[in-house]
Amino acid sequence: MLGIALYLVFFLIVVTIYAILVMGLNLQWGFTGLFNAGVVAFYAIGAYGTAILIGPERPELIGGFELPFALGLLGGAALAALAGLVVALATLRLREEYLAIATFGIAITVQLVALNFDALTGGANGLIGLPRPMFGYFETPNLYNVCYLVAVLAIAGAVYALLERAVRSPWGRVLRAIREDATAARSLGKNPTAIRLQAFILGSGIMGLAGGLYVGFIGFVSPIDFLPILTFQIWAMLIVGGSGNNKGAVLGVLVVWGLWTISGTLISQVVPPSLQSQAGAGQAIIIGLVIVLTLLFRPRGLIGEESVVSKHVRAARVARDNPSSS
């Protein structure tokens, strides 16, 4: 029983971290219409950035600044945002899909740096023995995990609240206007490039934040945690839940990560070890099918469907009837 409860805590921490990741992607795709094909890169940059900033000093490694965790977290997010700035600056004025190609490229590049730049990233072994925030104050690792879950939930809640506030503000209104008709938005005094850039950088920073939180949770980073499949998983989570809708995004994480975990467990029990790589392919095929089938048959996801239309109407109505709120 305790085992299950502990596993649940573990599961929920990962879900919460992925939910933050999905919210970052939702800002880019769901609200702004920017295709990021390299989600894992920004997540990894945040993770490695945090790890390098908080890690203990070791002679063979660059970094090891031993900064407090909170600073490390912010630093990781800032680095991810910076990476977002570079690809966005290169591509935002061009054909839309160039951003997709460039983000795909940065994902490959980050993976290579993680694997090969031993002095910075620890190479294939990764960076281990990273301090976990306030670990010493807890009697047992299990209690620590429970508290970490609470902390991560609080951070996810804060991200959710801040994002909701931003997308329901005049800023969010401009985002939607630009997504619907950039030319008309320009003629009304909005600078589409600047606003898209803001959304992309902010989204990338949030992904980086998720990466840093992951490091705080497991206490090490290694390239294994940042495989390309993660990008696809995050995308599946977003569109299953319904892009452009943060509640849906969170639901999507539960559904897809649940599916992934259950199928993974089943496979490890049933399939002989010699066929594990094929079994992994089966899992990936599920993710691919989820993406393609949702796009074809339910493009607005599970709960994005009707609310996109009615949400704004309702918001506007509430605002009018009750001018002091909102």
Binding site: L162, R165, A166, S169, P170, W171, R173, V174, R176, A177, E180, D181, T183, A184, A185, R186, S187, L188, G189, K190, N191, Q198, L202, V308, V309, H312, V313, A316, R317, A319, R320, P323, S324, S326
Partner: protein, 259 residues
């Protein structure tokens, strides 16, 4: 008359070339402040191209555009709108999945909440301003006879209402000059009367208009000055009567009988 005041808009030697084709070929004219000026001419004369160039969508190949003392030749569309020069589109371009109210609110200038950090750091100011913007939007919506559809999605209102919405949006910036691109196109007579009435009313409050229009009744009755463009050049300019009496204008429209 306003003859002595310096022009609010001045276009000098404007050229817009697409490859070898010169859509605008050395056009020069001025718009007097407070006037309603018509810009007419046959198809392909370069009117809409010129509008796009003035409004900053596609900058001129050469020449100069001055608005209210600013050289706006190389400014981008959004900066020009911020200087209070607004334009509408010939085929309305509402944001279809946003409500009419949101469509209008989005057009307000200098909204603190358009910087996302302000929504976190200065929520009070953002909310206060949002209330003001909403009130102003309701006024504009009422002025444009759109009351009752403000909560409808802009994609779902009638074509005529979309025309009014085009006008309502740009009014949010309290523009000094509005470029109207064919306001009467595709509009029924009753709505046309409304549009004309609104234009006159806005003009009376001090906003200058430059209007591309093919409905000559409207142009002749509404405009105090008319600029005639043909093949990218200004071939006539003056009062409606003078322009209507100009043989060159009729020739430009109907062409001469080929030999």
């Amino acid at each position: 008359m306003t003859g002595t005041a310096p022009p609010i808009l001045e276009v000098s030697d404007a050229v817009k070339a697409f490859g070898a084709m010169r859509a605008v070929d050395g056009a020069s004219f001025a718009v007097a402040p407070g006037s309603i000026t018509g810009l007419i001419g046959p198809n392909g004369a370069g009117k809409t191209t010129l509008f796009g160039a003035i409004a900053g969508e596609n900058p001129l190949t050469s020449g100069r555009v001055t608005f209210d003392g600013h050289d706006i030749t190389r400014l981008d569309a959004y900066d020009i709108y911020r200087l209070k020069l607004a334009r509408t589109f010939q085929i309305p371009r509402p944001f279809p999945a946003m409500t009419v109210l949101e469509n209008v609110m989005v057009a307000a200038l200098d909204q603190a909440g358009e910087k996302f950090w302000n929504t976190w750091l200065r929520p009070g100011r953002v909310q206060r301003q949002e209330r003001q913007v909403r009130e102003r939007a309701h006024e504009v919506i009422a002025f444009c006879n759109l009351t009752g559809v403000e909560d409808n999605l802009a994609g779902a209102i009638s074509g005529g209402q979309k025309k009014l919405l085009e006008l309502a949006r740009v009014l949010m910036s309290e523009p000094r000059l509005i470029l109207l691109d064919e306001p009467a196109a595709g509009v029924n007579p009753a709505l046309l009367d409304t549009l004309v009435e609104k234009i006159v009313e806005i003009n009376a409050r001090g906003t200058t208009f430059l209007i591309i229009e093919h409905n000559m009744d409207m142009v002749m009755s509404l405009c105090q000055a008319i600029v005639v463009l043909a093949q990218g050049r200004v071939i006539a300019a003056g009062t409606p009567d003078a322009v209507a009496a100009d043989k060159a204008v009729l020739d430009a429209y109907l062409g001469e009988v080929a030999a």
